[in-house]
Symmetry: C2
């Protein structure tokens, strides 16, 4: 009890995803996840509030990454370019976790409640991006609209990246999707 | 029992909103809503699955309106213009229900679970718009991105319309927000 377990979050995450894919999210218990990971339930709850949060543990880091990338964009960058740089940076981080992301997405796609939780996550990211733009002096509604545009690009690039084999990498899909958004909003 | 009650949905809706604003959504029961409306619980459940659905009863009609407006746009219309016409048409219908919309929004803003339900509604509308664009032969990812852009415009126009006094009407806010989206995505 209480002793340090090497890479407990990684082991729990892998065990949870394995079980969610094998048995379904609803059918899996925390006890089973801990057992599969060779850890105790107590260790599980030291890292995650519940079995759903294993799938959303990265949301806070993703938000921080987006916000700091917007804050760190050159003063001269247009709002959409600051947001695009942030979404690309997030894409580069996710690129390192492609297999995890694909498996996680398969679990979420199979469960309506998880899809709702994912929508809430995306709405939170859009709010955070809008807040970061306001910090740069971008007024509303431009801040909100640019943030929503950025999250739309993220979402569509993510869907393409996670669902198709042999696709380009995530940052490239972000650039392509942004180019496509610019084209469609321009009426092309 | 079972007899026809004149305008039961309208009376129930008004009673529900009154109570949600007076007491809070969580604190209000279906029995209280029915009593306030001078109707029975049985009549309530003939029209609504539960007290939450009173607030979302219009979502299906809104979706149908968006889809048929996209389908009915001239063949020559660019996807973004078909979507803009649809969102404007939806705005014109909501314009007739401004007081209801403002009161409904106040209830939703006060309750996290209702905000989540609203996000799901918006995601459903985005899917429906994307499907209507595919029916017009718009390929992906353009269909999805245009639909997301349309819902972003709808959301921001709605926020402005519902929260500010003395604002222009909803269809005009839709046009302004779309213009702003075009400007921000163009890097202005």
């Amino acid at each position: 009890m209480g002793r340090w377990e090497p890479n407990a979050p990684g082991r729990l995450e892998r065990a949870a995803l394995d079980l969610y894919i094998e048995r379904g999210f609803e059918q899996t218990t925390v006890a089973e996840i801990a057992e599969r990971a060779g850890l105790t339930e107590r260790t599980f709850f030291r890292h995650y509030a519940d079995k759903r949060e294993v799938l959303f543990a990265g949301a806070g880091a993703l938000r921080d990454l987006l916000v700091s990338a917007v804050a760190g964009a050159p003063d001269s960058a247009a709002p959409i370019d600051a947001v695009a740089a942030a979404v690309e940076a997030a894409g580069a981080v996710l690129q390192e976790r492609r297999e995890f992301s694909r498996r996680r997405q398969a679990v979420i796609a199979a469960n309506a409640a998880l899809q709702e939780r994912e929508l809430i996550k995306l709405a939170t990211l859009a709010s955070a991006l809008a807040g970061a733009l306001r910090q740069r002096g971008v007024p509303d509604p431009a801040a909100s609209l640019t943030a929503e545009a950025g999250i739309a690009v993220f979402k569509i690039a993510f869907d393409r990246w996670v669902n198709d084999d042999g696709q380009p990498d995530f940052p490239q899909l972000v650039r392509e999707s942004l180019g496509e958004l610019k084209a469609v909003t321009a009426g092309k």
